[in-house]
C-alpha cells in the first residue's frame, strides 16, 4: 500500500525517536543513507556558522534551520536531478542537496544580488521572501512542464504559517484542477514567528487541507529523515507517473520543530517555553539517524569524525569564498530590471556614476 493512502491524521514514521526501525525503510543504498546523514550534519554545522557570522556583524539577518534537517534533506534527496525544487527562505539544506553551493546562500544573506542566482545546472527556483507566493509559481511551472511533455516533479516548500495565505489556497486549487505534478511540502515547524500552529488554523492537521483540493494529504514525522524520504519519493513518483485513478499533486505535512530563533532578529523566549524546546530536541533527527546507521554498521566513530572534518572544511571554504566577494557594483541594481536597459535607467545609472566620481564612493556608503 502506498503511504499516501493513509489518512491525513495518521503520522508516518520509519525511525522512532530512539533511532529504532518502526516502519518500512525506503530502499536506499548504504552510501545514500550516509549521504543523507552527512547533509544533515552539514546543515547543522552551516547553520551554527551562519548564526555566528551574523552575531559578528559579518552577515545580515539569517533564518536558522536547526531541527529541520531531516525534512529538508530527506525530501530533497527524493528528487532526481531533473526535478525542480521551489524553496522558501529557510531551505538552505534542501537547496544544497539539489545543487546550490553554500556560498550562494551565504552571499544572499550577506545582501549580495549574486546570492540569488541559482547555478544553471541546478533546477532550483529563486528564493522570494513573501510568504506562500512561490506556491502558485510551482504549480504554474509544473503545469508548463506537462504542457511541454516533460516528466518532472516539482517540490515546493513552505511553512505552517504559509498555509493561511490566499496564495496557498489558489496554488493548491489550481494544482488539483489542472492535475499538475507538484508536491506541496509543508515544513510545519510549529511556529510562524511567534504564532503557534494551533492559532494558525483550527484544522487538526495541515495534511487534511488537501481534502479541499481533491488530492492526497499525508502527515509525516518531519524529524525522521527516512520517513520523509519515503513519503516524498512516493509523492514524486506519483506526480511524474500517476496511476489511472490517482491525481498527481500531493500535500505533505512534515511535523517538525525549529530549535532556534525564527531569524537572528527574533527572541523566541518571549513566546515559547524552554520545556517545549527541550521536548522537541528529544526528537532531534541527527542522533536518530546516526544511531540507526551505527547500529546497522553503516557508521562508526572513524567515519563520523571524517565526515565532521570534511563538513567543517566545506563550510569554511564557503565562508571564505563568500567573504572574498567584493561589494557588488551599483550597476547590478540596473542591469537586470529588463532584458535591455531602457533610456531612463541608463541615465539614472550615469547620474549615479557621475556623482560617485565627483564626490567619492565613500559619500554614498554608510558605516
Amino acid at each position: 500500500m502506498s503511504v499516501l493512502d493513509r489518512g491525513p491524521r495518521e503520522q508516518i514514521q520509519v525511525l522512532d525517536e530512539a533511532g529504532e526501525l518502526v516502519g518500512d525503510p525506503p530502499s536506499l543504498s548504504d552510501d545514500e543513507l550516509v549521504a543523507i546523514y552527512r547533509e544533515m550534519k552539514l546543515a547543522r554545522h552551516f547553520d551554527a556558522r551562519a548564526v555566528s557570522l551574523q552575531r559578528q556583524g559579518r552577515m545580515g539577518t539569517y533564518p536558522p534551520m536547526s531541527g529541520q534537517e531531516a525534512a529538508q534533506v530527506g525530501s530533497a534527496f527524493a528528487l532526481d536531478e531533473a526535478d525542480w525544487l521551489f524553496p522558501s527562505y529557510r531551505e538552505h539544506a534542501a537547496t544544497h542537496v539539489h545543487g546550490v553551493p553554500l556560498e550562494r546562500t551565504l552571499l544572499y544573506w550577506m545582501g549580495h544580488e549574486s546570492g540569488n542566482r541559482m547555478p544553471d545546472e541546478a533546477n532550483v527556483f529563486t528564493i522570494a521572501v513573501p510568504i506562500a507566493t512561490q506556491i502558485p509559481h510551482a504549480t504554474g511551472a509544473a503545469w508548463a512542464a506537462t504542457l511541454r511533455g516533460d516528466r518532472h516533479a516539482f517540490l515546493c516548500y513552505f511553512g505552517d504559517g504559509a498555509t493561511s495565505e490566499g496564495d496557498f489556497h489558489e496554488g493548491l486549487n489550481f494544482a488539483g484542477v489542472f492535475d499538475t505534478p507538484t508536491v506541496f511540502f509543508c515544513n510545519n515547524n510549529q511556529w510562524a514567528i511567534s504564532v503557534p500552529r494551533e492559532r494558525q488554523t483550527a484544522s487538526e492537521t495541515i495534511a487534511q487541507k488537501a481534502e479541499a483540493y481533491g488530492f492526497d494529504g499525508v502527515q509525516v514525522d518531519g524529524m525522521d529523515p527516512l520517513a520523509v524520504y519515503r513519503v516524498t519519493r512516493e509523492a514524486v513518483a506519483k506526480a511524474r507517473d500517476p496511476d489511472a485513478d490517482e491525481s498527481r499533486p500531493t500535500l505533505v505535512e512534515a511535523v517538525q520543530y525549529r530549535f532556534g530563533a525564527h531569524t537572528t532578529a527574533d527572541d523566541p523566549s518571549v513566546y515559547r517555553s524552554q520545556e517545549e524546546v527541550e521536548e522537541w530536541r528529544g526528537k532531534d533527527p541527527i542522533p536518530r539517524l546516526e544511531t540507526y546507521l551505527r547500529e546497522t554498521g553503516r557508521l562508526d566513530d572513524e567515519r563520523v569524525d571524517a565526515i565532521q572534518a570534511s563538513i567543517e572544511e566545506e563550510v569554511s571554504a564557503a565562508v571564505d569564498t563568500a567573504e572574498g566577494e567584493r561589494r557588488p557594483h551599483p550597476e547590478e541594481m540596473f542591469s537586470q530590471v529588463f532584458a535591455d536597459l531602457p533610456d531612463r535607467l541608463r541615465e539614472q545609472l550615469e547620474d549615479l556614476e557621475r556623482l560617485r566620481d565627483r564626490y567619492g564612493d565613500e559619500r554614498f556608503l554608510k558605516e
Binding site: F125, P136, H137, G140, R148, E170, F174, Q336, A339, P342
Partner: protein, 327 residues
C-alpha cells in the same frame, strides 16, 4: 498585403491568434476565456482552434491566474493571462508587483517573466461598480513592468504582438469603451508596433495634449472643435506608458510651450503629474502656461448614472485646453 476592417477588440483577438499560430509556447488563460471566448469576445474561437490546453478556463482566482502564469513563464512558456476587468486585478497585485516585475532582477536573469497580463480598463459602458477602473499609474510606478494602452485597432494588434514577444512582463490595458466604437484596416499578416513609442495623432502648434487609450478619441473631438475656434492642438497618444516616450513628449512641448494631459484616472497621483514633471525638467524654459490636468476626479468611480460627469468629456477637455491657451 491583405487586410480586414476590424474593431479594437477584434484586433486583440487577431493579435492573440497570430502569436498563438507563430509560437506554440503562447498560452491564453483566465476566467471565461475558453469556451465562452471571453466576456468581451476577445478570445473568441481560440479555444476551438487551439484546444483547452492552450486556451484555458481557470478557476476564479486572479492571484492564481497570474501566479501560475509566472511559473509558466519561468519555465519557458509565454502566458497571456486575462484579468476580466481591471477593477479585479488587485487580488493579483502582489503577484504582479512583487514577483512578475522582479523575477529577472531577483534571479539575476536566470528566470524571466515574458508574460502579458491583459485587462480591459476604463469607464463609460454603463457597467456595475469596479468595471470602470483606470489605475495605470500603479503599474507605471513599479520598476520591471511595461505598461501599454492602445487606442486604435491597428496599434492594438501590433502592440500586442510586440508585448507577447517582449522578454519582460507587460501589463496590456485595453480601452473597452472603444472595443467596438469603430473599425480600421488591420493587416492579416503579423506586424509589430514597437513598445515605448508615442504617436502624434494630430499635429498642431498651439498646445500639446497628451493622452492615451479611450481618451484619445474624446480628445481628438475636442481638438477638432477647438480648431474651429482657431486653437491648433497637437494630440499625442502615448500608447506605451512605461517606458514613456519622453523624447516625443518633450519634442512636442518644446514646439508648443503649452500642454494638457487627459486621463480617466483620479487626478492626484495620476500620470498627469509625471508628465508635468518631465516637461518642466526638460523644457521649463519653453513653458508658457501650467500644464492642465484634465482627469477623473479624486473620488471612487461612481455607479453609472453619474459616470458621464466623472469622465473627461469633450466639453471639459475643451475648457481645460482653453485655460492653457489663454493663460
Amino acid at each position: 498585403m491583405s487586410a480586414q476592417n476590424l474593431t479594437l477588440v477584434q484586433a486583440v483577438r487577431d493579435g492573440l491568434h497570430t502569436e498563438m499560430q507563430n509560437d506554440e509556447d503562447v498560452i491564453v488563460l483566465g476566467e471565461d476565456v475558453g469556451k465562452n471566448g471571453g466576456v468581451f469576445r476577445a478570445t473568441e474561437g481560440l479555444y476551438d482552434e487551439f484546444g483547452g490546453d492552450r486556451v484555458v478556463d481557470t478557476p476564479l482566482a486572479e492571484a492564481g491566474i497570474v501566479g501560475t502564469s509566472i511559473g509558466m513563464a519561468a519555465y519557458g512558456l509565454r502566458p497571456v493571462p486575462e484579468i476580466q476587468f481591471m477593477g479585479f486585478i488587485y487580488p493579483a497585485f502582489d503577484q504582479i508587483i512583487s514577483h512578475a516585475a522582479r523575477l529577472r532582477t531577483r534571479s539575476r536573469g536566470r528566470f524571466t517573466c515574458p508574460m502579458v497580463v491583459r485587462a480591459p480598463y476604463g469607464g463609460g459602458i454603463r457597467a456595475p461598480e469596479h468595471h470602470s477602473e483606470s489605475k495605470e499609474a500603479f503599474f507605471v510606478h513599479e520598476p520591471g513592468l511595461k505598461v501599454v494602452i492602445p487606442s486604435t485597432p491597428y496599434d492594438t494588434k501590433g502592440l500586442l504582438i510586440s508585448a507577447v514577444r517582449d522578454p519582460d512582463p507587460v501589463v496590456f490595458l485595453e480601452p473597452k469603451l472603444i472595443y467596438r466604437a469603430f473599425r480600421e484596416e488591420v493587416p492579416d499578416e503579423e506586424y509589430t508596433v514597437p513598445l515605448g513609442e508615442a504617436a502624434v495623432r494630430r499635429e498642431g502648434g498651439d498646445v500639446s495634449v497628451f493622452t492615451w487609450g479611450a481618451m484619445t478619441r474624446v480628445t481628438m473631438e475636442a481638438a477638432e472643435n477647438l480648431a474651429a475656434e482657431g486653437v491648433d492642438c497637437e494630440v499625442v497618444d502615448l500608447r506605451t506608458l512605461s517606458p514613456l516616450d519622453r523624447d516625443a513628449v518633450v519634442e512636442s512641448f518644446r514646439k508648443t510651450g503649452r500642454a494638457a494631459v487627459v486621463h480617466e484616472a483620479p487626478k492626484t497621483g495620476g500620470l498627469a503629474g509625471e508628465l508635468t514633471a518631465i516637461v518642466q525638467e526638460e523644457a521649463l524654459l519653453y513653458q508658457e502656461a501650467p500644464v492642465e490636468r484634465i482627469t477623473g476626479f479624486d473620488t471612487p468611480y461612481p455607479l453609472y448614472a453619474l459616470e458621464d460627469y466623472y469622465l473627461p468629456s469633450v466639453a471639459r477637455i475643451e475648457d481645460g485646453i482653453r485655460n492653457v491657451v489663454e493663460y
